[in-house]
Symmetry: C2
Subunit: 653 residues, 2 copies
């Protein structure tokens, strides 16, 4: 239990935070953020303790040191800032500080008027020992101080004067006796991403629907023409449905018909044909050169292109012939197609991660992301990661980020909460959430509190989507424009990462495939679309305004400062976000009732906003420009249902 | 990060509870108690999982297995009972259950009316594989089932019938494919003590005050005469102040006078003289034979004798000459005496646990406990453990309990909360607490909730003391008999372990050494006492009644069931304790006001007591015999201040 070498180590270090699952997983930060580390640091007796937070970027050999401070009930604290993408390590060390213990006791003895001549000699010994640990000038100065304390010509009062010299204390602190110190047994990890990991606005689209000519398959060249529109609305990530060749065998027709008709384009998620697999580009979209040209053009508009990673194959995928061992066989010799019994998806062959050549499969799958990273892609949206082994993702993400630390992975897992959280812990940068299915004030308050106020915030970065090509919630089917506007504003102001599937979203596309279904009628997954983005009822102006507000207000660029406030109307949802220094405060009121104006009295929790009860403060409505002067916690709010069922205020003292 | 061997292991096991500080420390139980283990068990996809709780007593080589069950939000649970003192280990293992996954999907296919002929062949393969893992009859039966599924003469409906046979499922469950299963990476520990670790009533006394003859030093023989009195009151642990030779050098006089007078007996905590040290007996108390005779007599009365372990020396202790390296020297060559600057304790030399021969010191200190254990002592109260290194205690306790698993250590640490908790974590069986200084309803509710409702209950067993030879709280100095009665009842009913320092307690000794001091006037620590235990104002009858109630009511023998109940009077404290099966429920009302009768309406939280709002229940006052019939949550309570400011009810449906 106790190894002998530990016998003289009197310090115990415990309950270090942040620490996920005993240090098994890294926490997450973006460049420029700080990590505040706390630890219980205990020793027997009454000695003074000293300690350090140690941190280093992986690859650097030397620890940086920050003194632990602020002890309260034996809990100590220190912080460091992460300045580059990659991985950092941190741990804690502490030791019994004999000199400070001695100095504290000396003060008590002097206060009691006791003879301290022998105590000064004990101090001299401690200083002499520090001098042996020091070098150069410091060693000389310490030795001189020790000698002075031994001097028989100096008065005790002179010696006490000497011992109180702050520069001596600094020298002693710089040369502590850490021989029997204790270092926490674990090195804990931080994954550091670039800022877009925390703050991003995604626009999802099907590149094949970009053609200006009706019925014609869009190309990457056509997509270039869309960039001003997408950038103009304020999006910075353009996420494409899969761009690879699409299988012919069992290709789905329009509206997911089991058989297709001539000319049907098929689902982009049925990846692979004789034209190639996950590293190939669908010929109708263009060439690799076209794709790289698009990446460059997008960049000029401040937009990054994100690709979809869907590890599954059409029956025509080259893997099926080249690596039959990666697919499961049925007893009749056929390849096992995808199933969710009793549903069957004959157009998709799942990869068998339990196969004997799992190592080869892992390597090839990893090489796909590396390939696209090499072409310049740095953001990947991963399809259904929860149906592939956890350890595979951990391996892939570590491998990719080792070479490309700026890569961002978005986890598209809509499954059980702990599985979603686990995928985030093992490395996904951002994650889809249950936002889409949250509706009431209680829903939002509970879910957002879980995401932003618990340990989950250390590793799970939510990305809120009001719609996706797979999900048209009933609320949008029936709620009209106010429903779209409300979901947009909530996604964009509650969550620093959000996205929409457009142009379906801004054009208010709301027809379901069937009553009770969340599938779109005439879903873009199975056919080309021609979107009229100039329609006067488009939400693009509201989207543009909301994205501008997000860029101009740092409070909306993180979820750290989210607070809900009590309001005496169940249809009103009130929340604030503020920067840590309180220089930017945003207050949002959403009317959850799509039919009627709602009003109520809000009780603002002023303390976290740095506001006081007796001083007025100013609210400016960032959508309308109107401004208000409030005082105290309780105030009246009133929000129409149309055209915009929400207000976004900037609060100023 | 991911070792290659782990690649096919799809299961993740996390957040196993109970687990203290990442498995660093054991939890505690007593014989017959159960350990309920929970774990998050996750896998990718939608397969059915199976798992086991594994446990074994240290020394046994085979794991016992309990199936994990009750999955809820991916959290699984199972329990085991610890049946012998010592240490147990437990962990969790789980695997993807291909057969159950297949069987679930088969059901869905059948419900949808699909052709399952190929699926039955897949099932046959799974059963065949299980047959290869089985032996004897089981292997034969499984092989036969697999063959039957392949049979071309059997109808599909017959095969489905076969596959639904529960005995086949039992066979499959008994021979699972755990090849790619995951076992939690830690083995967690339980320290199992005998029942007295959880339920004990301590009586502390100075054996030298036992003489029937005034001014005469008491002996172990004299102590024998006290056994009927102590056992009669219902105590089962008799704890003696140190029984070793007492130093002469700097011996303290009466009332802690810096110099003693001829005849002064000195403090028993100034251990060691030319007559011996920690393994010797003070000659005036008797011989080792006398001591062992006393142990035997005490046992006949159902009493165990507990010794005091105080690792410190008088200047006359043999160690000072034999092991000068175990003591710190001052620059003037003298031995460093104990200090708490500016206070000096020249009669005590602390042992220097930082000395070069710390291994020798550890060994000798451990040998002291082993020596007394060998003489038959099994309970030790450890003086000021927080002033010796944590790791030393961990080592000592593990060593001692390895040979004597039934030894109980009580930690006498009154210091910072985390230090007290740490001592408990590293092995102390029971611990002194802050009970002595808690006074208000808020105090008790908060502190007892911390002790009984948080993780602390897994390792910290409180022992409540209304007084000790060092602590006479102001409340007892001025509160009179009602204060003593209230503190006794609270200690004995809130906490399954409690103790008093007697006869000072039952005789209401309340004079402080000085105003504001918690020291007794004419403290027994420095002089012989002659106690008149026959005094009519003695609390012995109340103590006898309370200890009888404790013995007769299992609810009071554990702290697991403690609940506080709301009452609309700040001077009234209401709480219940009940056994897990609700067969025994105790309801206590304490009047915290020492001067006046207090009354109020209590809102009993009925649910945890198994009571319903619409059925009456009966209360019997176990001190007076009076009985009451209550109905519903809200009831009237009224408690006098004298003679007994509390009521103890047994509640019956």
């Amino acid at each position: 239990m106790v190894t002998r070498a530990q016998g003289r180590r009197r310090i115990v270090i415990e309950k270090v935070t942040p620490e996920l699952d005993g240090g098994r997983y890294p926490i997450k930060r973006v460049v420029g953020e700080s990590v505040t580390v706390e630890a219980d640091v205990l020793a027997d007796g009454h000695d003074v303790l000293s300690g350090l937070l140690l941190y280093r970027r992986e690859g650097e050999s030397r620890w940086n040191e920050v003194p632990l401070g602020y002890p309260d009930n034996d809990r100590w604290r220190a912080s460091f800032v992460v300045s580059k993408p990659g991985r950092y390590r941190y741990t804690v060390t502490a030791w019994v500080d004999s000199f400070q213990s001695w100095y504290r006791d000396l003060g008590k003895r002097l206060d009691a008027g006791q003879d301290v001549s022998i105590d000064l000699l004990i101090g001299a010994t401690l200083i002499k020992e520090a001098s042996a640990r020091a070098r150069g000038e410091a060693a000389k100065r310490l030795a001189a101080s020790a000698d002075a304390l031994h001097s028989e010509t100096k008065q005790v009062s002179e010696k006490v004067e000497l011992i109180r010299d702050r520069s001596l204390h600094t020298l002693m602190a710089d040369h502590p006796d850490r021989k029997w110190g204790t270092t926490y047994e674990k090195e804990l990890l931080v994954t550091v991403d670039r800022e877009r990991a925390r703050f991003s606005a995604w626009y999802e689209m099907f590149p094949r629907s970009c053609s200006a000519t009706p019925e014609q398959h869009g190309t990457f060249r056509d997509c270039e023409a869309w960039l001003p529109y997408i950038a103009g609305m304020g999006f910075d990530v353009l996420y494409f449905s899969p761009i690879h060749p699409i299988g012919q065998t069992h290709r789905k027709g329009k509206n997911n018909a089991p058989t297709c008709l001539p000319g049907d384009v098929g689902s982009p998620w049925a990846i692979g044909s004789h034209e190639g697999g996950h590293k190939a580009i669908h010929p109708q979209l263009g060439t690799l050169a076209d794709f790289k040209r698009l990446l460059a053009k997008a960049k000029q508009h401040g937009i990054e292109v994100a690709l979809d990673i869907a590890y599954q194959c059409s029956p025509d995928h080259p893997y099926v012939k080249d690596h039959p061992e990666w697919f499961r066989k049925r007893p009749d010799g056929t390849v096992q197609y995808a199933e969710n019994p009793p549903k069957k998806y004959q157009d998709i062959y799942p990869l068998d991660f339990e196969n004997e050549d799992w190592k080869g499969l892992w390597k090839e799958m990893t090489s796909i992301v590396l390939y696209w990273s090499k072409q310049g892609v740095r953001i990947f949206r991963v399809d259904n990661p929860h149906t592939k082994p956890f350890r595979f993702w951990e391996h892939l993400i570590v491998e990719v980020k080792h070479r490309y630390p700026d890569v961002i992975f978005l986890s598209e897992a809509f499954t059980r909460p702990k599985v979603m959280y686990n995928l985030a812990k093992l490395g996904f940068t951002q994650s889809y959430t249950y936002f889409t299915w949250r509706h009431t004030k209680g829903d939002f308050t509970q879910y957002l509190t879980e995401l932003t106020q618990t340990e989950i915030r250390e590793y799970f970065r939510p990305n809120f989507w009001p719609n996706t090509p797979d999900i048209l919630i009933e609320h949008l089917q029936t709620g009209g424009r106010p429903a779209f506007a409300a979901r947009l504003i909530m996604a964009a102001t509650m969550c620093s990462n959000y996205g929409i599937y457009g142009p379906a979203f801004e054009l208010g596309e709301h027809r379901p495939f069937a009553p009770g279904s969340e599938e779109y009628l005439n879903s873009e997954k199975y056919e080309l679309k021609q979107w009229d983005i100039e329609r006067p009822d488009s939400l693009k102006d509201l989207i543009t305004a909301v994205n501008r507000i997000r860029r101009e207000n740092p409070a909306l660029q993180t979820n750290a400062g989210l607070h809900f406030h009590s309001v005496d109307n169940e249809q009103l949802l009130c929340y604030t976000k503020q920067t840590e220094d309180l220089s930017n405060i945003i207050f949002v009121v959403v009317n959850l009732d799509r039919h009627s104006r709602q009003a109520g009295a809000v009780d603002l929790n002023l303390a976290p906003l740095g506001l006081s009860n007796d001083q007025p403060y100013h609210l400016q409505d960032l959508l309308t420009g109107a401004s208000y002067r409030w005082r105290g916690a309780r105030n009246y709010v009133e929000v129409e249902a149309e055209p915009v069922p929400a207000q976004i205020f900037q609060v100023r003292r």
